[in-house]
């Protein structure tokens, strides 16, 4: 498939005005659980091609090659609190020989076209067709109106994978525009349809969003040990306000979600940030996600699976996120990231150093310390560290 796509795109890239760029990234991680240590990492090459057959048209794609090393076979049970998996896999009354101690997940090497799209700029609107990165919302760590992506709290600004879609951005006047997105599914009902209106009012930006799609979630049936996909119609009505108060940035992003055969839920993020004279930057966010579980006792394995798959933005309902960064010098940045689950009282603290070693070469080192009981979302891990080297070209 990649070969065919590249063969089709090759003449455009050869004869159009083409840019080649991308990055190489190498990462090594170590994660420590109560009785397990995971060493793993990957080497990744992202190669972007961007052609401009004329002033109005951009054709872009990127090829991603990612090869994992060291521990590439993970046991899902290590990432779950014991009171979630024991009743299913190691039930009381069953002899230990019959217990299931492994739920393997393999980190498979990947070689894929992440984005491949054509963007045309017409006089009164832009049209982008193809697999493209779509990032919605104003929140930093969570985006209630973003039905396409779910962010990693340890690394919320990492790029997201592409979405097959047709998107039209229609400017009305200076700060007002309409954004129409159609992400095709197997049929019209399963396709994601979104309409977003953006405008400005004084120092504030306002967004209103309405969307409808078929929400697919993974469901594990413990009686038959089967995984299946549960589908439900989801209608989202949301919006966002971004502005500032006394020099501090403030934002509110929220969505009300109407679901077929399930309770409606609301998801809201409120955040603020401030940059001090000395360069110290602080950002804080609070998430309230009614789609999460309020009490730890009510969690089940499907809540975890759906969260791990990125099908829901959080496992439980109430979270705090904070990040501060301070420039030690022009090339070295110290950061302290932290997030906490307010429902089960678990948290993570993550000091980090970002170092621009050379032009276009960045080194990031981070340590994570997890707090909370063994049967909590973050307390299930003890600690971890990560080294990531990225060289752009």
């Amino acid at each position: 498939m990649i070969k065919n796509a590249l063969l089709i795109l090759l003449p455009i890239f050869l004869f159009g005005q083409t840019n080649f760029f991308g990055y190489f990234e190498s990462e090594f991680d170590q994660l420590k659980f109560a009785d397990q240590t995971y060493n793993y990492g990957y080497n990744k090459l992202r190669l972007d091609f961007e052609a401009h057959p004329n002033d109005a048209v951009t054709i872009g794609t990127n090829v991603n090659v990612q090869k994992y090393f060291d521990n590439i076979s993970w046991n899902l049970l290590d990432f779950l609190p014991s009171d979630i998996y024991r009743p299913i896999f190691q039930p009381e009354g069953y002899p230990e020989e019959m217990w299931i101690t492994e739920f393997p997940i393999a980190l498979l090497d990947t070689f894929y076209l992440d984005n491949v799209y054509l963007k045309a700029g017409f006089e009164h609107f832009d049209l982008t067709v193809g697999k493209q990165q779509i990032s919605l919302g104003t929140g930093y760590a969570w985006n209630p109106i973003d039905i396409f992506n779910s962010k990693q709290l340890l690394d919320p600004t990492y790029e997201q994978t592409g979405v097959n879609a047709v998107r039209s951005e229609i400017p009305i006047n200076g700060r007002t525009s309409v954004d129409v997105i159609l992400s095709t599914g197997e049929d019209w009902k399963e396709s994601a349809k979104m309409l977003q209106l953006k405008t400005g009012l004084g120092r504030f930006d306002l967004h209103g969003t309405i969307g409808q799609y078929t929400w697919e979630r993974i469901v594990f049936d413990p009686t038959q040990f089967l995984l299946s996909i549960q589908k439900s119609e989801r209608t989202l009505i949301g919006g966002a306000v971004v502005g500032e108060l006394a020099g501090a940035g403030i934002w509110l992003e929220g969505a009300w979600n109407k679901l077929e055969n399930q309770d409606d839920f609301t998801e809201v993020v409120i955040g603020t940030d401030y940059t001090f004279e000395n360069g110290l930057y602080i950002i804080m966010e609070y998430l309230r996600n009614e789609n999460g579980v309020l009490n730890k006792e009510n969690l089940d394995i499907n809540n975890y699976l759906q969260y791990f798959m990125g099908e829901t933005h959080s496992l439980m309902q109430d979270y705090l996120f904070g990040f501060l960064s301070y420039p030690i010098n022009d090339f070295i940045q110290f950061g302290l990231l932290g997030f906490g689950n307010l429902n089960d009282n678990s948290a993570a603290l993550n000091p980090q150093i970002s170092w621009n070693l050379f032009q276009d070469v960045d080194l990031t080192m981070m340590y994570s310390h997890f707090l909370g009981g063994d049967n909590t979302e973050f307390g299930v891990q003890d600690w971890g560290w990560r080294i990531r080297l990225r060289g752009y070209f």
Binding site: G247, D330, F331
Partner: protein
């Protein structure tokens, strides 16, 4: 009679001399007329030199309109910064930034206005405040002084606190011949020269004196940033709705 004539001559000379010395506000007006054109576009490099001598070089394109009231900057090089863009409206009171890797636009709060752009010694305010300083400062002509062998007017501008000026005080050395500034000292709250901007390689571009090189020296951190203009024009007409999120994301 002789005495009366002498006094009259002296008075006349004083009047002529007084008329020939422009006031601070007149200098600001003259300087503003040549420094802020209605529209401009340029491709520039930005070389940051740290106190240890390490360098990083960026290349960006910059578009301005409304005498600098609206500015759009987009980085072309190096690869790590490629496509990152800033839209500054209302003289950098409102700033949006675009990250091409995540395709996200974020609005920056005004507390970040005086922060470094890409780690350089230029702040967002330095880059995008246009001629807003005309109303943020009270200026006084301190007289004539030579800088780098050039006769200059020395202008002192004191910030009006209610106008939220970028710096509490500035000193501008402008050429007497055409009122073009060649050196600006920026002071901090303790009246220490925090930064110095040096403008050199001044050429006539479409009849407008233009510094092809600007160097900002940061005396607090021992760093400096040099911006070299590779190409520029003042005859560019911005398309309708150019200074919007749509263009930011291109």
């Amino acid at each position: 009679m002789k005495n009366i004539l002498a006094i009259t001559l002296v008075l006349a000379t004083v009047v002529i001399a007084q008329e020939a010395i422009p006031t601070g506000q007149e200098l600001v007006k003259k300087m503003s007329e040549i420094m802020t054109q209605e529209n401009s576009t340029a491709i520039m490099t930005q070389t940051i030199t740290t106190s240890s001598g390490k360098q990083r070089t960026f290349e960006f394109e910059m578009f301005t309109t409304g005498e600098g009231e609206k500015t759009l900057m987009r980085y072309l090089k190096p690869s790590a910064a490629r496509g990152q863009a800033f839209l500054m409206l209302n003289n950098a009171d409102d700033i949006w930034t675009y990250f091409p890797r995540t395709k996200r636009v974020r609005k920056l709060s005004s507390s970040s206005k005086n922060q470094k752009v890409q780690g350089s010694d230029f702040s967002f305010e330095d880059m995008g405040s246009g001629d807003s300083w005309k109303k943020e400062y009270v200026s006084e002509n301190l007289g004539t002084e030579k800088f780098d062998g050039t006769d200059c007017w020395k202008l002192q501008s004191i910030g009006i606190p209610e106008q939220d000026p970028s710096y509490p005080k500035m000193e501008v050395y402008m050429r007497k011949t055409d009122f073009y500034p060649i050196k600006i000292n920026y002071f901090d709250e303790s009246d220490f020269i925090e930064k110095t901007l040096l403008m050199s390689e001044i050429k006539e571009i479409e009849g407008v004196p233009t510094a092809m090189q600007m160097t900002m020296e940061n005396h607090l951190e021992g760093t400096e940033t040099t911006m070299q203009t590779l190409s520029t024009t003042y005859s560019w007409e911005p398309p309708v709705n150019f200074f919007t999120e749509r263009e930011l994301k291109k």
